[in-house]
């Protein structure tokens, strides 16, 4: 479970994120949407423990990120938009390294399975420099999944992938949620989010502009129009001139039944 309460992050005098609160239950897939500079990446980086929030509380899998960061991070996987790999470690060595960092007891058994699942078995002794971007993405995915995280954060997960890899990544994300992980995906690909997410959080100028299940968000901004999709909702929020007032649907929602 991801619990965010009153998250605020200031860069000097500039408030990148203000008083942001939401909860993602196990099995939920939250799409994080917003115009450029809205504070999505700051929010994700705070959640990943990369930067400390100025105020607010962040709990991952029941652990407070500020007071018990190690326990919280043990249940976290963060996938940046660019796969971050070590130049001189092979694919198999990457998994060994990450397994030790996260203390994965059954890593020897899990690693081959993961490599198999991600079609990386024949690349286990390759260096990142010998892999395509899609392959690197898969290696990053394998590293992030070897410790069976309960909290998963994706920052633009489909950037640079071919159609086949896109489909497989979407399937993997859905499977992770089905298996009980709380997932946040930050992306500008609204059709992707509409396709796989159960919930949507729209931020604008660091403030929550909309939050709820996909259906709730659509209805909230339909204003009587029929067939309003996420893109239309986004456009309506993005083109509102004033600073959005935080709307107040419940901070968390009961997870809908997963398909």
């Amino acid at each position: 479970m991801i619990e965010v309460s009153q998250l605020t992050k200031h860069y000097g005098d500039f408030a990148a994120v203000s008083e942001l609160s939401f909860t993602v239950h196990p099995g939920q897939l939250l799409g994080l949407v917003g115009p450029n500079g809205a504070g999505k990446t700051t929010c994700l980086r705070c959640l990943a423990g990369i930067i400390p929030p100025t105020r607010g509380s962040l709990r991952l899998a029941g652990y407070d990120l500020a007071t018990d960061p190690i326990a919280a991070k043990r249940h976290l996987a963060f996938f940046a938009d660019e796969p971050r790999l070590f130049e001189y470690l092979t694919v198999a060595q990457h998994l060994a390294f990450v397994a030790r960092i996260y203390g994965v007891k059954d890593a020897d058994a899990r690693a081959p399975l993961l490599l198999d699942e991600l079609d990386l078995s024949d690349k286990r002794d390759s260096l990142p420099g010998e892999l395509s971007r899609g392959m690197k993405q898969k290696v990053a995915l394998a590293c992030g999944l070897i410790h069976s995280p309960q909290v998963i954060l994706f920052d633009e997960p489909l950037t640079g992938l071919d159609p086949l890899a896109i489909r497989r990544t979407k399937e993997t994300i859905r499977r992770l949620a089905r298996e009980g992980a709380s997932v946040i995906i930050s992306s500008h690909l609204l059709h992707l989010l509409e396709e796989i997410c159960t919930h949507i959080l729209i931020v604008k100028r660091g403030v929550r502009a909309a939050f709820g299940s996909l259906q709730e968000v659509r209805e909230q901004f339909a204003h009587g129009d029929a067939g309003v999709d996420l893109e239309e909702v986004f456009m309506r929020i993005a083109t509102q001139g004033d600073r959005p007032q935080p709307v107040s649907p419940p901070d968390s929602a009961v997870p809908p039944p997963l398909a």
């Binding site: 190690i70 470690l89 060595q93 060994a96 390294f97 960092i101």
Partner: protein
């Protein structure tokens, strides 16, 4: 779009880029840790460079302290230097013809090319823009050259010397550009590179031959080879101030003369002809209409690739081919995560047990050779002192250990945002970094110590006593890792406290003036840390030694060593805790 608008736009680009970079650096000074560095850097810069420049400006003769004793320029010596400098400029310019690529390429960045090539800007304007944008770099180079070419040599005329260097550098860059254009045109017309290079070499040889011939004729007239500095100087003067040299080197002398002027008036007189030569060179380049675009794109791409490679690998000695490196040991998935970091570093450092076995084999063979090869005198002396060689190497490795640890930390801090998502405490991170750097160094030292032992038993008699030969390795093995860590603490602390300086954040503005100050602080701090840390070690070791003497000298040595080492490692443990906290406190969002 007219030329003037383009020039205005390009001027805007240059000035804004410089200003914005400066502003980002200044903004960083709001953090006291960078402000202190900047103040020290400024003071350092002023003491070593600024006061001489200001001295030249404010006290043109000899008013500046430290410069009043600077030697005045001897006119004869100046003539000689002028001739030699002109010859140097001649050969540098000749080199531009000999070594020029068949395709001329201007040094644009990829971003500049992406914006400027598709824009409605004439080729001539692009060349002018490039020439203008080079000037900042040339001015800095002039300052550096003046600094290293003897700032006190010029008395209080620093600005004249710097301007003189600038004239020469501008001439060289203009000529280099013009030559590359002509070379491309000649290549397109069928002139092969080897013929061009041969012709260039022939011209160089011709000038050398003429100077040599003229010098030899002077020698013959004088009747012998010069035997003193004064005679050499006279000969040089004869070569460069009479005969064909003044004519052949005339234009080049005009270029170097302003930099050697003895006064402001002399500089002003010398500057006119030099500027005229620069104008001719500029007109030559400006009127060239050579297609440099394609080669420039290729060059920019090559440079971008190199920078990217260097950034991502940042290995000593530059770029290396990536090959799979075996693990030093099998990493179990359970246990202290710090070991994983050390394991990763050993892979990156190409730690191969096979190489150590090979080094041991070499030591065994060498020791056997020394023991059994019947010997001349040199072999005898080798027998007695060969053990000192691996011992010396082991001591030098202490320094390499420090470099290794610092390099590992800096490398990993470049991806601190990646590590921050991992369940690693700051202490584990620091221990992992230290272990990684230490592991390979200690193993190398161990091999050296085995070598010491082998060489020590090889001869019949030793140049140094056994106790020393065995005592030093034992001492180094005991306190060596501690000393390495102690010396590494400050650079590691600097890397953790000043991540922007270490460029761990890829989007930062890079180091500014504060980097100089931080280096000065680091050097002084390292000295103070080492001294302060070793004082308690020495006190405890001394006390234990005194106590041990009550029993026996051997007990005294063991107690002193053990007590000293215990204090040393306790200090390091405290330092690791503090450094770990510094890692935990890194906020990458503040390091822009």
């Amino acid at each position: 779009m007219n030329t003037w608008s383009v020039i205005q736009a390009l001027f805007f680009l240059q000035t804004r880029s410089v200003w914005n970079r400066l502003r980002s650096q200044l903004r960083r000074l709001r953090q006291p840790k960078y402000l202190v560095g900047a103040v020290v850097g400024l003071a350092y810069f002023y003491i070593y460079v600024g006061r001489f420049v200001l001295g030249g400006l404010l006290f043109p003769r000899s008013g500046m302290p430290g410069l009043s004793t600077a030697p005045e320029f001897d006119p004869d010596l100046r003539n000689l230097i002028e001739g030699m400098a002109a010859t140097g400029v001649f050969f540098l310019m000749l080199g531009a013809w000999v070594f020029a690529s068949p395709r001329s390429a201007l040094a644009f960045t990829e971003t500049e090319l992406a914006h400027l090539l598709p824009a409605p800007i004439s080729r001539r304007t692009l060349i002018r823009y490039k020439l203008a944008s080079l000037q900042t770099g040339l001015l800095i180079s002039s300052l550096v050259l003046w600094f290293f070419s003897g700032r006190s040599f010029a008395g209080g005329h620093a600005l004249l010397r710097i301007s003189g260097w600038w004239v020469v550098l501008v001439a060289l860059s203009l000529h280099g550009l013009g030559a590359s254009f002509v070379v491309q045109r000649l290549t397109e017309r069928g002139l092969s590179s080897w013929l061009r290079r041969t012709l260039g070499c022939l011209v160089g040889l011709a000038l050398t031959g003429v100077l040599f011939w003229w010098g030899q004729s002077a020698l013959l007239a004088k009747g012998g080879i010069p035997s003193s500095f004064a005679e050499c100087r006279d000969l040089g003067q004869h070569i460069f101030t009479s005969g064909p040299a003044p004519w052949l080197l005339g234009p080049f002398r005009l270029l170097v003369r302003p930099g050697l002027a003895a006064s402001g008036a002399e500089f002003a007189i010398a500057l006119g002809p030099a500027l005229f030569v620069l104008f001719l060179l500029f007109a030559w380049v400006d009127r060239s209409d050579v297609a440099f675009e394609e080669a420039s794109i290729e060059r920019a791409r090559r440079w971008a690739d190199r920078i990217e490679e260097a950034k991502s690998r940042r290995q000593r000695g530059g770029i290396r081919k990536r090959t799979v490196r075996p693990s030093a040991f099998s990493l179990r998935p359970e246990g202290n995560p710090a070991v994983a970091l050390a394991w990763k570093h050993l892979i990156e450092l190409r730690f191969r047990p096979r190489n150590y076995a090979l080094a041991l084999g070499v030591f065994v063979l060498a020791a056997a050779g020394i023991r059994f090869v019947p010997g001349a005198e040199i072999i005898e002396s080798l027998r007695n002192s060969a053990a000192l060689l691996p011992l010396g190497i082991a001591c030098i490795l202490l320094i390499f250990g420090v470099i290794e640890i610092t390099a590992r930390v800096r490398q990993d801090l470049r991806r601190v945002d990646h590590f921050k998502t991992m369940p690693l405490t700051g202490r584990q991170f620091v221990v992992g970094e230290f272990l990684g750097g230490l592991g390979s160094t200690v193993c190398r030292q161990l091999v050296c110590f085995v070598g010491v032992g082998l060489f020590a038993i090889a001869p019949d008699s030793l140049a140094v006593p056994w106790t020393l030969l065995l005592g030093v390795p034992v001492a180094l093995l005991t306190i060596g890792p501690g000393l390495i860590m102690l010396l590494a603490i400050l650079p590691v602390a600097a890397a953790l406290l000043f991540p922007a300086w270490m460029q761990s954040t890829k989007d930062g503005p890079g180091p500014g003036l504060e980097a100089i100050g931080q280096r000065v602080i680091l050097a002084v701090g390292q000295f103070i840390t080492l001294s302060a840390s070793l004082i308690p070690v020495a006190l405890v070791a001394g006390g234990m030694f005194w106590l041990g003497l009550l029993v026996s000298p051997w007990v005294a040595f063991v107690l002193a060593g053990g007590g000293g080492a215990a204090v040393l490692y306790a200090e390091i443990a405290v330092a690791i805790v503090v450094l770990g906290k510094a890692y935990d406190a890194i906020d990458v969002s503040q390091e822009q």
